[in-house]
């Protein structure tokens, strides 16, 4: 199973993005500034937008899922229970995992943005997929919920998961890092070596790398361990 982006070029007025890369099974992180083209790239990979040039090859991939940044767009059910059913999922289980039990008969639009995001991610992450594209999955979530989502992402042991985000604090355990810099998708490589080449790395990770104690991965635990070692050695 692999996803190959071959000489992709996306063009808009005064903006362009060039992409080359092969995504193998595992968790991939694509970082980049706001407006750098992360959402556009996610939609192109999912097949909902066409690039100006280049091809997207999905080898051994049949089930594709794209989670858009704003969960409202995904709503098709007029109640929370029907919304779960529209994903083909069992509502009580999903609502329990999203900590929304008891809200079955409420309209999804009466939920707060954070609650709706929780519900949406619970549905998306429950579905079996070969290629899962998560566009800003951590927006509108508090720290505890971000950690829960990260744990849930790491519980998926199959397929390719690509997270498009400019998040700077909470990450799941990732296998590969990419970043969009100056209109190009740059391959930073596999973890942990990718951290050395990751220009969008959060400041605290950059500090740890400068102190020669780069974390093994991006989870909170990895970063705390590296920080503790730095503190001990200092």
């Amino acid at each position: 199973m692999k996803l190959v982006l071959d000489s992709l070029v996306v063009k808009r007025e005064g903006w362009s993005l060039s992409v080359n890369g092969t995504f193998l099974p595992g968790v991939h992180l694509v970082s980049g500034d706001v407006g750098s083209g992360k959402s556009t790239l996610a939609q192109i990979i999912a097949g909902f937008q066409k690039p100006a040039h280049g091809t997207v090859s999905r080898e051994g991939i049949s089930k594709v899922m794209l989670s858009m940044q704003h969960p409202e767009y995904h709503i098709t059910g007029l109640t929370v229970e029907k919304e779960c059913a529209s994903w083909g999922l069992n509502a009580p289980d999903i609502l329990a995992s999203a900590m929304l039990s008891g809200k079955e008969e409420e309209s999804p639009f009466t939920l707060s943005r954070g609650e709706l995001k929780r519900l949406h991610l619970a549905c998306v992450l429950e579905r079996a997929t070969d290629l899962l594209l998560l566009d800003e999955p951590f927006s509108s979530l508090d720290c505890a919920e971000k950690e829960r989502v990260c744990t849930r992402i790491n519980q998926k042991h199959y397929g390719i998961t690509i997270i498009f985000t400019h998040e700077q604090t909470t990450f799941p355990r990732v296998d590969h890092i990419w970043e969009i810099c100056q209109g190009c998708l740059v391959d930073c490589g596999d973890m942990p070596g990718a951290l050395e080449r990751w220009q969008h790395a959060p400041a605290r990770i950059q500090d740890l790398i400068r102190a020669h104690n780069g974390p093994r991965n991006l989870t909170t635990r990895d970063i705390l361990e590296a920080a503790w070692q730095t503190h001990e050695s200092g």
Partner: protein, 215 residues
């Protein structure tokens, strides 16, 4: 058409002309053929096609009820073409400039601002609809009558949320009403010719054909 004032007034006159009579609609249609980029003036041809299809259905029902469905169809189609031309040519700030030029920095500015916000909502609706269709296809849902209600709710909810964001932003920045602006327009000769043509079309629409010709 470079001058937003002439574009807006022309669209208003032509819409009235097309609405009041079939001869006005035909004249407005000819004006559209002469003074616009025709197909190039239609930014979203698929949406326009759907609107015309909807009008065709209504026209057929009118026709079946024994009334003049064909006249209704022609008049509405021309109004849609004129509206699509106006929408495609509209630049950000056109309503604001025209409002201030026409009604001053208080009422004109406020009305212009409201119109600009309306345009932003219209642009947002199109993008929202595309994203909703993507989300529905991800769930394996096919477009049908049962999708109209949830889609409508999402569109209205998104438009209201966007409007609330904008109003909160204006309130936070201390906006009350009116504003300062020095509108500048650069009408071309073709703008003036087209504007005069629109006036003639309206005149032709409201005055009986027998007033022109000895019949």
């Amino acid at each position: 058409m470079a001058d937003a004032r002439i574009r807006l007034v022309s669209a208003a006159l032509l819409s009235v002309a097309a609405f009041v009579s079939l001869q006005g609609a035909l004249a407005a249609g000819i004006w559209w053929l002469i003074f616009t980029g025709r197909q190039k003036s239609l930014r979203n041809q698929r949406v326009i096609g759907m609107m015309i299809l909807l009008i065709a259905i209504v026209s057929a029902l009118i026709f079946l009820s024994g009334k003049d469905g064909l006249s209704y169809f022609v008049r509405m189609c021309v109004i849609i073409l004129i509206g699509a031309w106006l929408y495609a040519g509209q630049q950000h700030g056109d309503f604001l400039r025209t409002g201030v030029w026409c009604l001053g920095k208080k009422t004109g500015f406020t009305l212009g601002l409201i119109a600009e916000m309306g345009m932003l909502v219209a642009e947002g609706l199109s993008e929202d609809f595309t994203r909703i269709r993507i989300a529905q296809s991800l769930k394996g849902l096919r477009w049908g009558p049962d999708m109209i209600l949830p889609t409508g709710i999402v569109l209205i909810h998104s438009a209201l949320a966007r409007a609330q964001d904008t109003t909160e932003l204006l309130a936070v920045r201390g906006y009350r009403d009116g504003g300062s602006m020095c509108p500048h327009f650069a009408p071309t000769r073709s703008d003036l010719v087209a504007g005069t043509g629109a006036i003639c079309v309206l005149f032709f629409a409201i005055v009986s054909v027998s007033e022109f010709f000895i019949l």
